[in-house]
Symmetry: C2
Subunit: 201 residues, 2 copies
């Protein structure tokens, strides 16, 4: 088991270790959502997880490290979900259509995801920066692999624009408690025509 300096936390090599770490992260996730990062202590996380405080420090050096681990978990979860949602798509248009819908529906089911991701900016700016730069990198890679289907060659700008669209449609869907049908309609009828043909005359 080696300390991953870049990540700030230690990835366990045994299944039991992996399980113990996941229990601690799940406990932190619940408490951060309920009481916030600042009103949650390492002792609270351990108590809620029925784990000794000493065990926490095998995996994490600080409370911020468990937050970073939670953010990595969300990123992996979202990337897996998106990859899964576009698995059978044969065009970039269809990938965007399904990917944006998938993200917005995920946001509606997991509204605390914004609190954790955007809240990271107040805890550690580098953590927030790394989250979005890593997300953008994957998006750019996906766009670059569909060059012949995209009019612009500025994939970085397009990736940030698409991330912005998904994130703010997710916010709107949470605010208005939109159903899956309403989300589908918003993306099929408004967003996709904009991405295909534009909207400003």
């Amino acid at each position: 088991m080696t300390k991953d300096i870049e990540k700030g936390y230690t990835s366990p090599k045994t299944k039991i270790g992996q399980h113990k770490m996941e229990v601690l992260v799940a406990s932190a996730e619940e408490l951060f959502a309920e009481k916030g990062f600042y009103d949650t202590s390492v002792a609270d996380i351990c108590k809620h997880a029925h784990t000794a405080v000493g065990t926490f420090y095998i995996y994490f050096a600080t409370k911020t490290d468990v937050y970073r681990c939670l953010l990595d978990k969300y990123q992996a979860e979202i990337k897996d979900l998106l990859a899964d949602s576009i698995r059978h798509c044969t065009t970039r248009y269809e990938k965007e259509r399904r990917g944006i819908k998938c993200f917005v529906k995920y946001a509606v089911c997991n509204p605390t995801v914004y609190k954790v991701i955007w809240g990271s900016l107040s805890i550690d700016e580098k953590m927030f920066h790394d989250y979005y730069v890593s997300f953008a990198k994957s998006y750019i890679y996906g766009l670059q692999s569909a060059k012949e289907e995209i009019a612009t060659e500025d994939y970085t700008t397009l990736a940030y624009a698409l991330m912005g669209i998904s994130n703010f449609l997710g916010l709107r869907a949470i605010f208005e408690q939109m159903t899956d049908d309403q989300i589908d309609k918003m993306i099929d009828d408004t967003i996709m025509p904009i991405l295909s043909h534009g909207t400003l005359k």
Copy 2:
């Protein structure tokens, strides 16, 4: 002077009162950016503003109220800046072009604005919700008044998509420390053609 229950803080009626309140908000703004909301106390805000604690409670009931006031200040500032930037534009295309540039440049000059606005989600979800719903309302109003220049009639979805684009281009511009020229180029060469003609073939 009346307590504005909706706002959660009291707007002073005299110039001296207005000045005192502004000094307290400016003090809170500096301390929130430096130490964060949770590590800043009402006593810290007053000490930094050279103001008696009793004065604070004339205007604000809680520390959260001064945060809400700060958020309102940002909203008014951004709306004024945007309104000013598009004052002489005669087309919606030109208004979007200038408005997005204006927001992204403002973000680069005031990167803590994300910390305050997005951080509000962890402090009071309603405050965050009200901020964006109010912002969207203004945007929708502007889009509706240019119906004949916009292909979609779903102005709400378009407003959130455009807010998302501006916000995430602002993030990118901060991450990459973009110059004004680079921001202009990103919007002129990539974003505006997408908004006019789309990008997915």
